[in-house]
Amino acid sequence: MSLMVRRQIPILIVFVTALIIMADYFLQLPPIDAVTKKSWTSSLVTDIQNWGIVLAAFALGFGAVNLSYLHTRHISRRTKGQWPFSIWLLLIIIIFAVTGIRYGATSSTYSWLYNSSYFALSATVYSSLGFYMTSGIYRALRARNLESMLLLIVGAIAIMRNAPAIAVAAPIVINMEAWISAIPTTSAQRGIMIGAALGAIALGIRTMIGRETGFLGRLTEAEKGG
């Protein structure tokens, strides 16, 4: 594949698309349609977003093919500790696909199937997070050095503030926790946010001008020259 097809055309598409979206965000252009009151940039942005949705839908098919291929192979090879789950996964995909095609993805039948299987399981996995957090925090809250000592103190204050009996007995922890949340934590979070926002903008600019090609494959030695 030529360099133009692999690199230059994708970069051009990114540049033009980003420019249109930025123009729509910053500029107020006269409407071209009396009914929708949309400017040409707004109409174009809507179209671009719709293309994105269509492409994502096609990609989902690609994902389903990958999933089916991988798990069919596990079944045929009887991969140890995996193949029974692969059968189960393919069975579930078929049940959901058939139900969705037969009754529609917004039907009560499909919703019942989804809510009583995935929704319940999802809530279960989410709930298990509490145990993972506990074990993680148990290891982290050890006074090994100054930083972990600070974490231990702050963590202890936050736990005491959220334990009703302690908060009632020693109301000072409420004020201490509020101060920690409002001043040092917020300051640090905002610093991180500003840095992250500037980093994202810089990455966007690099991508627009074709210097950030991580998503296209890394630069070759010849291309590094600028």
């Binding site: 910053f26 500029l27 107020q28 252009l29 977003q49 994105g52 492409l55 994502a56 990609a59 989902l60 098919g61 690609f62 994902g63 389903a64 990958n66 999933l67 291929y69 991988l70 192979r73 789950f85 995935y118 399981l121 999802s122 996995v125 989410y126 298990s128 997070l129 993972y132 957090m133 074990s135 993680g136 925090i137 982290a140 979070q189 991180i192 946010m193 500003i194 840095g195 992250a196 500037l198 980093g199 994202a200 903008i201 810089a202 990455l203 966007g204 600019i205 690099r206 991508t207 001008i209 210097r211 950030e212 991580g214 998503f215 296209l216 494959g217 890394r218 630069l219 590094k224 600028g226």
Partner: protein, 258 residues
């Protein structure tokens, strides 16, 4: 013509653009120096460990898709994926990329194939086995990644991108199986979770600089200098804002609302 309330933002964007282009031009004359990012420097150590243990390396870019506001984090993660794949190919280690958004699959396939070609090991690349679409649902994806961790016992786990509640599920599971971990995200609420469990951490802007840091491309490195100048401007604005507000002036607030 310009949308009210976004004029200042446009001005700041223009200033940042100038800084970044300026930084790139300066970098052509003199390469800027980076402070070390231990997380990225540890990649060879992670690959070496995987080679010694004869186990794979697991990579995830979290729950990002290319059509959401977190897309830059995903792009940043993909840049590291390309580098890590090339290194894994050189070390002869299998790298498994768990995909959340199916739209990323063709990009990842191209990226990893390129990496294997560059390493001269294209015959070892197996897209179907190494790039795995798991699910587009958060906890189904999380469970599938945990399944990979438990069944295939990767020696290293790299997580760079947008992460949500699953961050702790991933980091704890991989910790339990003894994997060395590098995590990076710009999602503030997940940073502490990664910080307490993972061996190496990239905080927010560091993930965006990862591509430039790893590629050693002078122009990309120059853009980081421009970004840092933007940070200085933001700090000056904050300082000036606090001072003039303390003296009763709303000038900066009005300017920001322009």
């Amino acid at each position: 013509m310009l949308v009210t309330g976004r004029i200042f933002a446009l001005g700041m964007l223009a200033v940042l653009w100038i800084f970044i282009i300026g930084g790139m031009e300066l970098a052509k004359k003199k390469l800027p120096t980076f402070r070390r990012l231990p997380g990225l420097d540890a990649l060879p150590e992670m690959m070496g460990r995987a080679t010694e243990m004869n186990r794979p390396v697991h990579f995830t870019t979290g729950l990002g898709s290319l059509t959401e506001s977190v897309a830059p984090q995903l792009v940043a993660g993909l840049a590291v994926l390309g580098y890590a794949s090339e290194m894994a190919a050189k070390y002869g280690v299998k790298i498994i990329y768990s995909v959340y958004a199916a739209q990323v699959m063709p990009i990842a396939t191209e990226l990893m194939r390129d990496a294997y070609i560059r390493a001269g090991k294209i015959e070892e690349f197996n897209a179907e086995d190494q790039i795995r679409y798991l699910s587009g649902e958060q906890f189904a994806y999380a469970s599938a990644v945990q399944g990979i961790a438990e069944r295939e016992r990767p020696a290293a786990n790299i997580m760079i991108g947008p992460f949500y509640a699953e961050s702790m599920l991933f980091s704890e599971t991989f910790f339990r199986i003894g994997a060395i971990q590098l995590a990076g995200t710009a999602r503030g609420y997940q940073i502490p979770f990664f910080a307490v469990v993972c061996d190496y951490l990239l905080i927010a802007e560091e993930i965006y600089a990862a591509g430039a840091y790893l590629s050693k491309d002078p122009l990309q490195a120059g853009s980081i200098r421009g970004q840092d100048l933007g940070k200085i401007v933001a700090l000056i604005l904050m300082f000036v804002g606090v001072v003039i507000y303390a003296f009763g002036s709303n000038a900066l607030i009005d300017l920001l609302k322009m």
